[in-house]
Symmetry: C2
């Protein structure tokens, strides 16, 4: 059985939160590794036409990260810390887009085993305001998320 | 002029957030140091009658912490990571009480210079649900926060 490859992106009605749900044709260990290993992450994350450059990426409880996404010579920086990492199960991290250096989101990535070598990823971003959350939703990042997951499909199939 | 030593603790009406405000008779550098230096922190944080034991406390951008608060032989563990630390200005960190290991809050401590050697500290905790936030408000932790700040007054005066 092939997974449903539609990426669902929803705004929570009560909380300043975005919930992204996506299924993958690979077991949780493999989908997790594609998020935890910076060499793999750099191969799929981000919008089409952007190049990923890892500054540092230490995906363990208490670690931290910073990476740059480059497009047409413009660099977009992102950084945060890993609050908790449970291999093949969960990543809880903070996230700042350096274009808005005072904004911080609390992110939770849950890797659910669907059986049959399939995984459901649920990624939530809790923002500090409804305004910040809604700005993200209209920023074009939704398309970047979908494009990244299509490249992740290819990576997982390889 | 002496600061208003009342600790204000308020629930946000729109967000699952607690906002704590407190003034101190010490400059921002000194109030910040009492939060950033684990030896100083252990001398004032927490409710009366609890003993603080630092497991690790690396208060810098990308660092992490864990400490234990002990009362009558019972240990309460807390841990998180430091998303951003701007000396004498700002600490953004995550926070988990290990009695509820799946709960995470995003915390922001702002140190404001009031002039005349005084500081206003504004500490916000963004919780993942209104239920989690409201449980904190009725947990007795409010009294522990007030007791800790009274000890911090003494430490800053010493």
């Amino acid at each position: 059985m092939t997974s449903n490859r539609e990426t669902q992106i929803a705004a929570d009605p009560r909380l300043p939160l975005i919930r992204i749900t996506r299924e993958f044709d690979a077991p949780p260990e493999k989908v997790f590794r594609a998020h935890a290993d910076p060499d793999l992450l750099a191969r799929w994350l981000g919008p089409s036409g952007h190049e990923m450059k890892i500054d540092h990426y230490d995906c363990r409880t208490g670690g931290s990260f910073r990476y740059l996404s480059t497009s047409d010579g413009t660099e977009f920086g992102f950084h945060g810390c890993f609050h908790e990492v449970r291999p093949a199960q969960l990543i809880v991290q903070t996230f700042t887009f350096e274009g808005e250096p005072d904004g911080v989101a609390l992110e939770r990535l849950l890797f659910e085993d669907l059986g049959g070598g399939r995984t459901r990823l649920t990624a939530t971003s809790l923002c500090e305001s409804f305004e910040g959350r809604d700005a993200w939703l209209v920023s074009g990042m939704q398309e970047g998320v979908r494009e990244g997951y299509l490249r992740l499909d290819d990576l997982l199939a390889g």
